[in-house]
């Protein structure tokens, strides 16, 4: 009806959809290669990921072992120094980075699956289903997740990475559900979704084949944010001693640094690396996310 808001005459409407889609894809790639935020962010994340997943192969199996001299500042042999017990902080750090990624993927993944399911179903079905799911979302959203997690996890005598990830996932999904729901609402009224519905396809098939692919960039960004949130929550839980029993994590390193007076003893090498690792990973994820947003959302490319 009205003029194309952007550049008139750029889109040849008679063209088949494939070239247009291809063109959009290559355009995204074009911007992706030139977006410093995306490049820097993903560079840092990838570097840490490689460190976390390959690094342990070059280190001993038990990073908590008392291997060296006690209370050594960083040196050639022990890159990040040693603890008051003579544990190698570099080894702990590498293993900690690995568990950071594991908990992020797992906790963020659980939250992502729940949030996506709730959001899709609520947005697509509407009506009473939407009302109930919405209410559920709001309730979980208002509950202060961390405190609930502390109380729930405190009762467990044996704690593993799995339970921690599960609990984090169960508490972190609401905002993602909200976001996915509102996106789905706007997509569910589109012609092609209507067509699919009329042709009698099953709900979950329509969601997976018609709705989800059209908001894939959005879903990727939601997952990244959930990943970062799960990492921070897990670090907090580890820090107050509710992490996986006998596990190695960056949060647990901070905890033992505080418990064994690293601050008072001036052992900065004990508490600086783990915090820096978390900040770098999560910060890089956030920056990567902004970069992705700019690539996928042409409006933001301007500024």
């Amino acid at each position: 009806m009205t003029d194309v808001a952007g550049a008139p005459g750029t889109t040849d409407r008679a063209d088949a959809p494939e070239p247009a889609g291809e063109r959009r894809g290559s355009e995204a790639l074009h911007f992706a290669r030139r977006n410093p935020k995306l490049l820097i962010g993903s560079g840092i994340v990838l570097a840490f990921m490689l460190l976390g997943f390959i690094g342990p192969f070059f280190l001993s199996d038990n990073p908590n072992e008392y291997v060296g001299p006690q209370t050594q500042p960083p040196n050639g042999e022990y890159w990040f120094g040693t603890t008051t017990f003579g544990q190698d902080i570099w080894a702990q750090f590498v293993y900690g980075v690995r568990s950071t990624f594991v908990i992020g993927l797992f906790g963020g993944g659980v939250a992502f699956l729940i949030g996506m399911t709730v959001g899709f179903v609520a947005g697509y079905k509407g009506g009473i289903v939407d009302d109930i799911l919405n209410m559920l979302t709001n309730v979980v959203l208002v509950l202060p997740a961390m405190v609930v997690l502390i109380v729930a996890i405190a009762y467990l005598d044996v704690r593993g990475l799995f339970t921690q990830g599960m609990f984090i996932g169960l508490s972190a999904w609401p905002w993602a559900a909200r976001a996915v729901r509102s996106q789905t609402l706007s997509l569910a009224t589109r012609d092609y979704v209507d067509l699919a519905r009329l042709s009698g396809r099953r709900t979950w098939r329509i969601i997976t084949t018609e709705v989800a692919p059209n908001m894939s960039s959005y879903l990727v960004m939601s997952f990244i944010l959930l990943f970062g949130g799960a990492v921070l929550t897990a670090a907090g839980l580890d820090f107050i001693g509710l992490g996986p029993s006998n596990g190695v994590s960056l949060g647990a390193m901070l905890q033992s640094a505080v418990n064994w007076s690293a601050l008072q003893l001036g052992m900065w090498w004990w508490f600086v690396p783990p915090g820096l690792g978390i900040t770098a990973i999560v910060g890089a994820l956030y920056v990567l996310n902004v970069g992705l947003d700019e690539v996928f959302n042409p409006k933001l490319r301007e500024l």
Binding site: M1, A7, T10, H30
Partner: protein, 318 residues
């Protein structure tokens, strides 16, 4: 002569190159003239409307001049345009429904806008009330938030705001497309009334709906792919179009002069699509869809005055 546009070229910058949205547009607009600007989506009509008041960040002025009341309009210089905006050239945007700040009372917003433009609100209060009344609104709307008004009411408020400083030129961009038929009519009538009362000197009415424009406009200009195809008085365009494109456009109307359908101006009757403007074809841009195309059409036809006040760009009419 109010407005004189000469060989105006405005391109959109995109990744793949410049989109030649306006590629040498020339026309005049007389005092008191209401000109309908028609054409398919993407022909450059909205770009022309925008170019006259404010280029957005991707639009680039490539060439050509604009004169308003014998003064140059420096559209490429955003700062130099500021004094002209609102005072000399004003706009009723396509998005009039959402053009008002949702969290300010309308009256307060108007006052702040006026003060920012160096006008004492008290000086124009009476006039504001009179004009609101003219479009059928009570002064109490000034005490309301935009959300409290219906779409048609918001449209009329924007109309009053945009014309409050009696601009020489008003650009109305697709103002009726979001309205129902009866509201369209009353908006169109109010516009004519505003012109008759001298609130605005002249107006460009951008639309895809030729039937509506025929009722209110003095002249109609038809654009095609960034070029002017034909400009003449409204009745000439409707009854004796010369350019093959205009002829097909008019021929596609269900019943000339009727507003019975809002789709009146849509161009489903013409086979094919307009050319992309990224690398526009040489020669006449309509030649691929034109039934009368011949060898000469590989050269670009100039816009010539084939009879007084009737301009067309086609080798067959020249």
């Amino acid at each position: 002569m109010t407005l004189r546009v000469n060989d105006l070229k405005v391109y959109y910058q995109t990744l793949r190159g410049d989109v030649h949205a306006l590629d040498g547009v020339t026309f005049d607009l007389a005092d008191g003239e209401i000109m309908g600007l028609a054409g398919e989506s993407g022909c450059g009509k909205s770009t022309l409307g925008k170019s006259l008041i404010r280029l957005d960040s991707r639009m680039r002025h490539v060439g050509g001049t604009i004169e308003l009341d014998d003064k140059d309009v420096p559209i490429a210089d955003d700062d130099a345009m500021v004094p002209l905006r609102y005072n000399e050239i004003s706009l009723i945007p396509q998005y009039a429904m959402s053009a008002l700040n949702p969290t300010r009372k309308i009256g307060k917003m108007i006052n702040e806008l006026l003060r920012a433009r160096g006008v004492r609100p008290a000086d124009v209060t009476d006039e504001l009330h009179r004009r609101l009344e003219l479009v059928g609104l009570e002064p109490k709307v000034l005490n309301m938030f935009p959300i409290e008004l219906s779409g048609g009411m918001k449209q009329r408020v924007v109309m009053v705001i945009s014309t409050l400083l009696n601009p020489s030129l008003l650009i109305a961009d697709e103002v009726t497309s979001a309205l129902d038929v009866s509201t369209q009519r009353s908006v169109a009538e109010s516009m004519v009334e505003f012109r008759d009362r001298g609130y605005i000197k002249s107006m460009i009415f951008v639309t895809h709906d030729i039937s509506l424009v025929y009722q209110m406009a003095d002249t109609i200009m038809v654009m095609y792919a960034g070029h002017v195809a034909e400009k003449a008085s409204a009745s000439t365009i409707i009854n004796e179009p010369k350019h093959p494109y205009t002829q097909m456009l008019i021929g596609a109307l269900p019943e000339v002069g009727s507003t019975s359908t809002a789709q009146g101006g849509r161009l489903e009757g013409i086979p094919g699509t307009p050319p992309g403007l990224l690398n526009p074809p040489t020669g006449c841009r309509f030649k691929d869809r034109c039934p009368m195309a011949f060898s000469k059409c590989s050269e670009q036809p100039p816009l010539v005055e084939i009879e007084p006040g009737h301009w067309a760009a086609c080798w067959k009419t020249g």
